[in-house]
C-alpha cells in the first residue's frame, strides 16, 4: 500500500491523525497508574480530551451507574471530579506529560461560572482548546443551554471575548434539530462542535421492578447510537462551516471513516475504549487500509467529500 497521510488539524491545532477520545471515556491518569510507561510510549489518541471539569469537586451519582444494553451501554456517572482547583493544581501538570495536544472539557450551571472556568483553564499553557459541555440547565432561565439555539449562542457570546484559544461546543443529541443548536454555537463564535453526547436512556432492574440506575436514567453510548450520530453529523456539518468532531459508537477504522464521510473533520473514540484500552490505536492502524479500499489517497480527500 502506498503511504497514506493521516496528518490533519482541528481549529488550527496540528494533529498527527484524526483520532481523539470522547470526554470522560479515558482517564489518562488512571491508565498510567494501571499500565505504567506503556501508556505514554504508545498513547492511543492524537489529541487528549479531559473528563468534564466543574467549578467545585463532585462525588458523582450514586450506584448503579452502568448498564449494558443491546450493542451499547447506559451510564449515569454524574461528572465526579476534583473541581477546578483540584484539576489545575494536580491533574493538569500530569496531563501535560502527554505528547499530544490537550482539550479540557468544562461544564457549569451559570454563564458566570462558565466564564471563570474558561478564563482559568485557558490561562494555562498546557491547554490547547476548551470544550464546553452545555447539557446543563441555565440557572436563570431554567432552560437547558444546549437544547436552545439562543441560549447556546448567548453563552458563546459571553465566553468568546475571554480567550483566543479555540472553543468547542459539545452538542447533545436529545433535541429535534441539532443543526439549529450548532448554528447558534457558530454564530456565538464557537470554533468547532463535537457530537454526539449520550442519548437519554433507561433500564429496568432485571430482578426487581425498579430502575436499574441509581438516578433512574442515564445516557446511551456505543454502536447502538452510531446511526443516530451519523444522521446528526450529516445535518449539522451541512448547516455550519466550522468543523465537526464526530463520535458515537465508533469501534474501528471503518466506522471512524463513516463519520468523516458524513461530514466530521476528526473523530473521537468513546465507549470502545472500555472494551479495548488501545482502541484509539487500533482505529488509527486500520485507517490507511480503510481509506484505500474506498479509493482515497489521503485523509484530506475523505474529509473533502460532500455527503449525499
Amino acid at each position: 500500500m502506498t503511504e497514506i497521510d493521516l496528518a490533519t488539524d482541528i481549529c488550527g491545532i496540528k494533529l498527527t491523525g484524526p483520532v481523539l477520545n470522547g470526554s470522560g471515556t479515558f482517564d489518562a491518569l488512571a491508565a498510567s497508574r494501571v499500565f505504567g510507561d506503556a501508556l505514554l510510549e504508545d498513547f492511543p489518541f492524537d489529541c487528549y480530551v479531559s473528563k468534564t471539569i466543574t467549578m467545585n469537586p463532585r462525588p458523582g451519582n450514586p450506584p448503579y451507574r452502568l448498564w449494558e444494553t443491546p450493542s451499547g451501554m447506559i451510564n449515569s456517572i454524574g461528572l465526579p471530579g476534583p473541581g477546578l482547583d483540584g484539576f489545575l493544581d494536580r491533574d493538569l501538570a500530569l496531563l501535560s506529560e502527554l505528547e499530544v495536544p490537550l482539550i479540557v472539557s468544562v461544564m457549569a450551571d451559570s454563564s458566570e461560572d462558565f466564564e471563570v472556568l474558561v478564563e482559568r483553564v485557558a490561562a494555562r499553557d498546557e491547554v490547547d482548546a476548551i470544550e464546553l459541555n452545555v447539557s446543563c440547565p441555565n440557572v436563570h432561565s431554567g432552560l437547558i443551554v444546549g437544547e436552545q439555539p439562543s441560549e447556546t449562542e448567548a453563552l458563546l457570546k459571553a465566553l468568546r471575548p475571554i480567550t483566543a484559544k479555540p472553543l468547542i461546543v459539545k452538542l447533545t443529541p436529545n433535541v429535534a434539530n441539532p443543526q439549529e443548536i450548532a448554528v447558534g454555537a457558530e454564530e456565538g463564535g464557537a470554533d468547532a462542535v463535537s457530537m454526539i453526547n449520550t442519548v437519554k436512556a433507561a433500564a429496568v432492574d432485571p430482578d426487581s421492578s425498579r430502575a436499574w440506575l441509581g438516578v433512574g436514567a442515564g445516557g446511551l453510548s456505543g454502536p447502538a447510537v452510531r446511526p443516530i450520530a451519523l444522521a446528526q453529523v450529516r445535518v449539522v456539518s451541512a448547516a455550519i462551516s466550522i468543523p465537526v468532531i464526530g463520535m458515537g459508537g465508533i469501534t474501528d477504522s471503518e466506522s471512524a471513516l463513516e463519520f468523516i464521510l458524513a461530514g466530521a473533520r476528526v473523530i473521537a473514540v468513546g465507549t470502545e475504549n472500555f472494551r479495548d484500552p488501545r482502541a484509539g490505536s487500533e482505529v488509527t492502524a486500520g485507517l490507511p487500509a480503510a481509506l484505500t479500499r474506498r479509493g482515497f489517497g489521503s485523509l484530506a480527500e475523505a474529509q473533502s467529500v460532500t455527503f449525499g
Partner: protein
C-alpha cells in the same frame, strides 16, 4: 504520571488468549486460558474477559467485557501462564464465557486492581488469616489461600453455599486443604450461613489476633463486615460492582466510601478494607 508499582502491571491493551480447558463443577464452570503476555497476577486481582469472535450473542448482548477474578494460576509447560476462572452463569456475559471450549479464543485485559494485604499488614498482631468465601466468591479466596500456604502463613477457610448446585470448585480449588463448609439447605457441612462459622471462630479465637478476608454475595460481605467492625477485627473484602472497563476509564464502578464520596472499585479495589466503605451492598435495591 505515576504507575502503581506495588501491583503486577497489566500489558497495555487487550490480547487474545486460547482456551485450553473447560469443565463443569458443581453448578458452576471452570475454564482455563493460556496467557503468554501478562505477569503473574496477585491474589485479589481480576481480568476483563470477552469471548472472541462472537461476543455478542442473540439480542446484542454481551457487549462489554466481563470482570472475572482468577481462581488459580500456574506455569504453562510450553510457556506463559495457565489461568483458571470459575464462572457462575447469571446472564448473557457469564453464559457466553461458560460456553467457550478448548481451542476457542478469548480477549483478555489485565490483571487489574490491587491485591489482598498480608495478615501482618492488616493486623500487626495477626497470627494467621481467616478466609470467608461464598458462592463463586471462593475463587479469590482459593488464590489467597495458596499464597498464604506458600508463605507458610496459617489460615482457615470457611466456605458457604446456598445448595449443592451453587458450590462448584471447592474440591478443585481447595484440593485436600482443610475447609469448613456451610450449606444454607443443610445438604452438607454446617446447616446455615458461613457467618455462623465465622462467629464461632471469632468467639473461640482471640479476635484481636485475627485478620479476615472475604469474597461472596453482597449480603454475605456486609454481614462479615459488620461482624468484624463490631469486634474491631480488620477485614478485607473483595467487592463487585458493574464494571465497563476495569482500568479506571469509565467511573462506573463506584462504591460509597465511609467518609463520603465514592471510590473506583477497579483501581481502588476490588479489595477494600471493611472500614473504608459505607456498605458492601451499594446499588442493591433497598429491602422493602
Amino acid at each position: 504520571m505515576a504507575a502503581d508499582t506495588e501491583r503486577p502491571q497489566a500489558p497495555f491493551g487487550r490480547r487474545l488468549c486460547e482456551v485450553v480447558d473447560s469443565r463443569p463443577t458443581g453448578g458452576y464452570r471452570i475454564f482455563t486460558l493460556v496467557d503468554g503476555q501478562g505477569p503473574a497476577p496477585a491474589p485479589g486481582q481480576f481480568y476483563m474477559l470477552a469471548a472472541a469472535p462472537d461476543w455478542a450473542a442473540e439480542g446484542g448482548r454481551p457487549y462489554l467485557p466481563r470482570a472475572i477474578s482468577h481462581a488459580r494460576v500456574s506455569e504453562n509447560v510450553s510457556g506463559g501462564l495457565r489461568l483458571d476462572f470459575l464462572i457462575h452463569e447469571v446472564g448473557p456475559g457469564t453464559s457466553r464465557l461458560a460456553r467457550m471450549g478448548s481451542g476457542d479464543q478469548c480477549w483478555v485485559a489485565g490483571p487489574f486492581g490491587g491485591r489482598f494485604s498480608l495478615p501482618r499488614d492488616l493486623n500487626p498482631a495477626a497470627a494467621g488469616a481467616i478466609l470467608v468465601g461464598g458462592g463463586i466468591g471462593i475463587a479469590p479466596m482459593a488464590v489467597l489461600r495458596h499464597e498464604l500456604v506458600d508463605r507458610g502463613i496459617p489460615s482457615r477457610s470457611l466456605l458457604g453455599f446456598r445448595d449443592q448446585s451453587h458450590s462448584g470448585g471447592v474440591d478443585e480449588l481447595f484440593g485436600c486443604e482443610e475447609t469448613r463448609l456451610a450449606f444454607e439447605d443443610g445438604s452438607s457441612g454446617h446447616k446455615g450461613y458461613v457467618t455462623d462459622l465465622l462467629l464461632q471462630l471469632l468467639e473461640g479465637d482471640d479476635a484481636g489476633s485475627a485478620a479476615v478476608y472475604t469474597c461472596g454475595p453482597p449480603a454475605m460481605l456486609e454481614a462479615v463486615r459488620q461482624i468484624c467492625l463490631q469486634r474491631s477485627v480488620p477485614v478485607e473484602l473483595a467487592l463487585e460492582s458493574p464494571m465497563a472497563c476495569g482500568y479506571g476509564a469509565c467511573f462506573g464502578c463506584a462504591v460509597p466510601k465511609a467518609d463520603g464520596g465514592y471510590l473506583r472499585l477497579c483501581i481502588d479495589g476490588p479489595v477494600v478494607r471493611g472500614d473504608r466503605i459505607a456498605t458492601a451492598m451499594a446499588g442493591e435495591p433497598a429491602i422493602d
